[in-house]
């Protein structure tokens, strides 16, 4: 029995999350051949050469991303290889394409798994509530379709496949009915929330849109980005693109400074990748203190400007 991993690439290199999916597949089925599938054109062929699998297949599909076309390619290859597992990264596209394949084949699909044990049925552990809770589940299906939660396992280092093979999947017109028809490039050039090394975030405790001036000042002194909680976006104080959490952006900065944020599980789901968390909160009992490394207790409207002033002082600015 063989295993197929649906992989994604950027600029001719396999994505980190796809290499994590390869690692997951190889550790789940150490005795079986693990193949991979990339969909696309020249860049997909280039990325195939860096996938550490048995055969890296490239389904030649011209043009932009079309989820149903990717699903057709995957279903066709599954059938040809008589594979009994299809594994993809738990990315936007990975989850979307696997759901399409599962619909085609009338099979269940388990999204965002962190562990699995082979058997009949296969037993798996998957993420709920954006990672605040885990679920142990059984997948009753002749073909296992699952995605791998981001950062659940370490990625396989890129490596040469034993073979690369290209093929043209038999696409129907309907497979291309939904596809990317254009792109809007970002306007801003500031530090992006997802990539910033330091994020200074404000919650309901900031009190108003204007109150964010002190948060912005500290973020800019540290060359970081401004974040916020959902209480803040719901109140209209900040745009949703600043929201950290389960339904906002997931971040992994070196330092996360959470000001006036209580630490709800859905907020922490977005910042648990931070190396260090500093909480500034007036309530010494706030739940965030149980996940923070450091805390300052008191009014953020006094503390945050004092920190900014001190930074200016030590830097002689």
């Amino acid at each position: 029995m063989t295993v197929l991993v649906l992989a994604e690439q950027t600029g001719g290199q396999p994505d980190e999350l796809s290499l994590q999916a390869v690692a997951f597949a190889r550790s789940l089925f150490p005795d079986r051949p693990v193949h991979a599938l990339l969909v696309g054109e020249a860049q997909a062929v280039a990325a195939a050469a860096s996938l550490p699998v048995a055969t890296a297949y490239v389904a030649e599909v011209e043009g932009s991303y079309a989820p149903a076309a990717w699903a057709t390619a995957a279903a066709e290859l599954l059938d040809r290889l008589q594979a009994d597992s299809l594994i993809a990264p738990g990315s936007d596209r990975g989850n979307e394409v696997l759901a399409h394949v599962a619909c085609r084949l009338d099979l269940p699909f388990a999204a965002n798994c962190v562990a699995a044990t082979p058997g009949e049925p296969i037993r798996l552990t998957r993420v709920r509530w954006g990672g605040s809770l885990l679920e142990e589940a059984l997948l009753h299906a002749p073909i296992t379709i699952l995605s791998v939660a981001p950062h659940a396992v370490a990625a396989s280092p890129p490596g040469r496949p034993q073979a690369v093979e290209t093929f043209q999947p038999a696409l129907a017109a309907a497979d291309l009915a939904v596809r990317v028809v254009g792109r809007v490039e970002p306007a801003g050039t500031g530090v992006s929330l997802a990539e910033a090394k330091v994020v200074v975030s404000g919650g309901r405790g900031v009190g108003s849109a204007e109150g964010f001036a002190v948060i912005e000042e500290l973020a800019s002194l540290l060359g970081g980005a401004v974040g916020c909680s959902r209480a803040v976006t719901s109140a209209g104080w900040r745009p949703h693109r600043d929201q950290v959490g389960q339904t906002g952006t997931k971040i992994a900065p070196d330092l996360y400074i959470a000001c006036g944020i209580s630490g709800a599980t859905q907020h922490m789901a977005g910042c648990k990748g931070a190396k260090r968390i500093l909480a500034i909160n007036s309530d010494p009992e706030a739940p965030i203190l149980a996940s923070a490394d450091y805390a300052v207790i008191g009014d953020l409207h006094e503390i945050v400007p004092a920190i900014s002033a001190e930074i200016r002082r030590v830097q002689g600015r």
Partner: protein
Amino acid sequence: MRVLVCVKRVPMTGGRIVLTPDQREIETRHLGFTVSPHEECAVEEAVRLIETHGGESVVLTLGPPQAEEQLRDAMAIGVDRAIHLVTDGEEWDPQATAAAIVEAIEVERRVGGDFDLYLFGNESADAGNYQVGIRVAYSLGLPVVTGVKALAVEGDRLRLEREAGAARDLYEVPLPAVVTVLEGINLPRYPSVPGRMRAQRKPIASSTPVRPTPRLEKVRLVVPESQRKEAEILGHGPQAAPRVVELLAELGVLP
């Protein structure tokens, strides 16, 4: 135009999740309930579309009798009526959920006509299966776009935007279509008091479908080993600033 929007009742967990003794559910005795923020935005989008284009919006849920609360919440901000597929509280797997929703849509089609647009959350708040909307689209033979952050109706077509890294991908699909949305597509309004009163009188059609054997079968829930920490208190009030800046220097984040 006619829009159907699907929501799922979930507990509003606070700073810590506590499980029931059998570990199959979250202990909800002291918790309120809500729907996913993505679904709140789907409801708001449905209401705005009907305000602009005229027609009817309908909210649907598969859930326990108490999920009527989430249907009334949606009707309080302007949805016209509701469909309640009543369960005994046991969660349904995503395939069964989609099948029940499709069956309810077929019933609607027989009596009230077709919907032009079906709105879902990109993923449910609790289970996060990332698939119910896609499954419904397949069963209905309709195009589906997921993860949508901007939606515009242009004649009989939809123009949609979805985030792709820092950029946005554009999609165009004909109606009828299925769209799964993300929080941020709009800023949902708060229900008004008259809105809440009106919602009490809006109709809910309920039925009781039979739960099939799950193919993705939940066995138990586990609260992940939290790296529960004892935060080091750096100080109280603005006097803590020098200690904080020392720490910033230690961590190497002072530019």
